[in-house]
Subunit: 192 residues, 2 copies
Amino acid sequence: MISDKKVNIINAAIKSFSHFGYKATTMDQVAKIAKVGKGTIYTYFSTKEELLKVIIHKMAVEMRKIATEAVTTGDDFVANFNAVLHAVTQFQEEHELIIKLSQEVKEIGTPEVIEALQDFENEICAFIEMKINLAIERGELKECNPKITAFLMYKMYINLVNDWKERYDSLDKDEIASLINLYFIHGIGSEE
Amino acid sequence: MISDKKVNIINAAIKSFSHFGYKATTMDQVAKIAKVGKGTIYTYFSTKEELLKVIIHKMAVEMRKIATEAVTTGDDFVANFNAVLHAVTQFQEEHELIIKLSQEVKEIGTPEVIEALQDFENEICAFIEMKINLAIERGELKECNPKITAFLMYKMYINLVNDWKERYDSLDKDEIASLINLYFIHGIGSEE
DNA sequence: CAATCGACCAAAATACTATTTTAGTCATAT
DNA sequence: ATATGACTAAAATAGTATTTTGGTCGATTG
């Protein structure tokens, strides 16, 4: 059974990281929000960095869970791909933390945060890669390098969610899903 | 006729920016490489930033020229798309400057460089957008939002050239061209 | 006299120091 | 046995002195 205090600490840290970023969050702050003594945090997490990594990892696990649940056995890759995209784009709060941390990386380049987000990317890409491999075996996708494909899918998602909105208006969830579907699965070459 | 000295200054600046980056390049340095007095630079360019912008703009113009020349009238979008990609990926020296400046943005975020690279991206994307529009009119591409499509094509290229190599081995020019062709034009959904 | 130059200057960047903040510890309290 | 918060060493920040550098302009030259 997971300690009540540990859960409080994690939630407090998520709240503070999302709000102020990693660097600007102090352990005193986290202790205060979690309503525990600062020392207590260190009985569960050895460093501030570990606290961040645990949170990011939990987030990746949860995304994987959400994605896995969105998959309908029997449906093909494309249908499931859209279902997963739709499910994943729902989780606004999870996204807030990731977006805040991404901003921090861009603005001040905190090394611990760079590493944590890299881990997150790797976990997500590994999951996509696995699904792509299965789909290729089943003949639902063309032969292609699964690692590169997973990487580009993830990046296209990020490009659409984070980078496009900096230039023009931000796109809504369904638009993003349908764009990835158009470009990635079907391609824009006219069929003959 | 363009002054000899102006050309020297531009070439000196390209060399120094590529080698040391924008911030670490001093105007004394540029003057020395160009073998002109520092004051002379200011008869051609009002500020260091303008010097950078002129160089970046020239580069965008040259890329557009290269791309335009690679296009064979009569060939369809896909064939020309590959020809352009191939031609563009040849220009190693031009790329070195852009890559160095991109690194500088990631590492120290020099505002003038952020802006200059943004301008470059906009010019390149505007060109791609125009070509996409033509191709859609001719029925060589499916209906799609040309601005988003151009943006994503450019980004995928950057993802492959810059970001992939940070994680794994860097890809060679032909690989990159064929990957973009695969994902973008054909898609990886299995044809039925 | 038109173009070039480089010593010069104000402003910005950097190095250095003093001060404050904070991650992490540990003796004490519950 | 656990939790705590005062404590400390190290890191971050603020403040200051020094150096560097973008940009000017009067002197120079062809």
